[in-house]
């Protein structure tokens, strides 16, 4: 039908013309892939699975290694022979369980009251996450959606806090949390005497909130700034305040970002031990020492019980695993399903 000469110099430019001779099988295959969408999508899928499996293997292998260690009686570990003989290939260094000693897991529980540590970790992480989310949401809204003088500077200041090694905060905070008077730096003027906070959640939550706040602020700033103004406008006309719009519209719409900030904060706190090990003076569960404190004290007390260490580590990871399995389903993939319209 289109015998009409093309009116414009270029419609869509044609695919580079291909001369068919002298092509090897690989080239033919390549061309087949380029031209045949069916083949191409099969290739994509194959590639996709290869990549996925690669990621799975690399991330999971260390856990497998822990499991092997935990199940192998310590005596066998110390002989350190991990070679596995494969037909044709010969000896391959690969850890396979030698012997089977699940008792290690029980033993670990006899030594460390994991349930108490896990409880502490959850309380600390939940409270910190809540505080961080609330504060970071406010800041994210301010930085992401408002224009005001000093904005860049404030963001820089918040960011700069995270430049410092945590140790830089430690001594004055520790002093203050011991109940010593807080004095104005350089001037020596005594301001007030705080209550003794060591061994309480407060002494851990406060510094950890400050520590993890900058990341959350930056994440939320990015996400909040991307919500179209129109939606906030609509909410405000419907009768919300600016903060109401934040809570009802902007936050739910930035849910992937909020969830990510929450997950990152929660995990970070759960795994934090610098502050908690110092503020919980003896890493005892009744001093609100988190799980890491428990595992750590375990590790440092029995340095050659490799199987027990591994078992303790696995036990320490389990709550997180469970949380990630269930929470991510609720938080992250719930959102994905909403966003993914295919």
């Amino acid at each position: 039908m289109s015998n009409v000469p093309e009116p414009e110099p270029a419609h869509e430019p044609a695919q580079p013309s291909t001369d068919d001779e002298d092509r090897g099988p690989l080239e033919r295959w390549t061309r087949g892939v380029i031209e045949d969408s069916e083949k191409r999508s099969r290739l994509y899928r194959a590639l996709f699975y290869v990549v996925t499996i690669f990621f799975l293997v690399t991330t999971l292998f260390p856990f497998y290694w822990l499991l092997v260690l935990a199940l192998t009686p310590n005596g066998l570990i110390q002989q350190g022979n991990w070679a596995v003989s494969l037909p044709a290939v010969g000896e391959v260094p690969f850890p396979a369980p030698q012997g089977f000693n699940p008792a290690a897991f029980l033993e670990v529980f006899q030594q460390v009251p994991f349930h108490l540590y896990v409880f502490n970790s959850f309380v600390l992480a939940t409270m910190t996450t809540l505080i961080v989310l609330v504060l970071a949401s406010l800041a994210g809204y301010v930085f992401g959606r408002l224009e005001f003088p000093g904005r860049g500077l404030m963001m820089l200041a918040v960011l700069a806090i995270s430049y410092f090694p945590p140790a830089a905060f430690l001594i004055p905070l520790f002093d203050a949390f011991l109940g010593n008077a807080v004095t104005l730096p350089f001037l020596g003027i005594e301001l007030f005497t705080p209550p003794r906070l060591v061994n309480t959640p407060g002494s851990m939550i406060m510094p950890m909130s400050a520590l993890f706040l900058p990341l959350a602020i930056f994440i939320l700033t990015t996400f909040y700034s991307q919500i179209p103004d129109g939606l906030e406008d609509a909410a405000r006309v419907e009768g919300t305040t600016r903060l109401g719009a934040l809570v009802r519209v902007i936050m739910p719409l930035s849910a992937p970002g909020v969830a990510t900030a929450a997950v990152l904060t929660f995990i970070s706190v759960y795994n934090e031990y610098f502050f908690s090990s110092i503020m919980a003076l003896q890493n005892e569960p009744d001093q609100w020492s988190p799980l890491v404190g428990g595992i750590l004290s375990y590790q440092t007390q029995y340095t050659t019980d490799f199987n027990l260490m591994a078992a303790a580590s696995i036990v320490g990871v389990l709550p997180m695993l469970i949380l990630v399995v269930f929470a991510q389903e609720k938080i992250v993939s719930g959102l994905t399903d909403g966003a993914l319209k295919e």
Binding site: Q78, L178, D286, Q301, Y302, T303
Partner: protein
Amino acid sequence: VYGGESSSDGAVVWGFDPNAAEAVGDDIVSLVQESGADGVDIELQPGDEDTGARRETYTNLLEAGETQPDLFLMDSGWVNVFIQRGHIANLSEELDESELSTVEDEYFERFTATTRDPGNGDLYGIPMFPDYPTMQYRKDYAREAGYGESDFEEWATEPMTWAEWAEVTQEIVEASDAEYGLATQWDQYEGTACCTWNEVMSSFGGAYFGGRDNVLGPVGDRPVTVDEPEFIEGLRMMRTFVADEADDHTLEDEYPLSLATSDITSWTEEDARTAILNGDAAMQRNWPYAINLNVADADDPLPVEDYGAMPIPYGVPEEEAAQPGTGGTTAALGGWHLVLNPNSERKEEALEVIRATMTDEFNLGMFDLWGWVPPKPALFDADEVQQADPMGNYMDTLRVAGENAMPRPVTPVWTNQSSLIAEEVNLAVAGDKAPDQAAADLQSGLEDIEEQG
């Protein structure tokens, strides 16, 4: 949720050694109670196995004014720092005159000194046990090489030179199932600097700071004597033990190659202990607790007949030592004291525990239980000690070790120095650095630290 400050209501909490607490904790508590502190609840709280880490934890605790633990077991190497900071209770004020004089009269004063304020001599801790390492070995393997009880008896008290020892060990390895000869601790950590290397170095007539008299100072006014032939010689010997092949820095003519596993450069005490227990190593340099554990409390202990001990071999006799007060067999002096938390809310009970630990009964009981060498010379010859099972069998060796103990160079700058020493010595023995280069670098590094105080 956690209403009360403490979970162990009413108990005296005692910061303790984790290995002992795990293995014989209950027995120790009963022993204390039977030794006079009956009616006192005692809870042993295990600390870090690494002495440095335990010190930091205790520093934080005491600085924070925590009331618990009420009692601490403190390494003789760092009690002094706590005394300086005023972190621990002055027992001269807490104890009766008679009790104080007991300490003065009955204890090894050289060891007790490490728990006194150097200024006024006040007592801050009760010595629990001095610690001297020995060379422990598998008699069963040695027998396979043709050695017998007479040899063992001689070895128990007569130190060998490293060359003799290496030859013997080599023979044993070749004749037995052992994979290698020597297991010891040689990681980059305090234990290498204060102890294992200190012993080898001293036995070659070397010293960090120009001899025994300068060990405790004065910082900055003592020579650094590291880049010296005897120092390098010792390093080369250790390198030779570890090396697979001869090279410019090994002394393969004098010592066998591969006598030790190269793994020792990542090892600490427990690695070494398990290596001999497993039967991989023929010999192991370690503290007395390892004897007790390996022949009594381990899961699969060795019989006493198969486990021997000897003083650490030496490089040069005392007379030939380049640095004053060194040479001959040398055992790094370790040991632990019991100190009192000044903030304790159970001071009375705690003092009762302290008093109980001062009894001979306790000292002997601990020797029996866990191999804590009694801190009182009189007890060394006591029948109970000689008959203690299994530790009594090793008393002779321990005495030799004790007589040749070398104190640790603990000064305010020691922490910095020890990590530097451990690093250089570790690298030299691992073959990552030439021994003379390591010595030279260490020399300048230590000089810097000395200068800056």
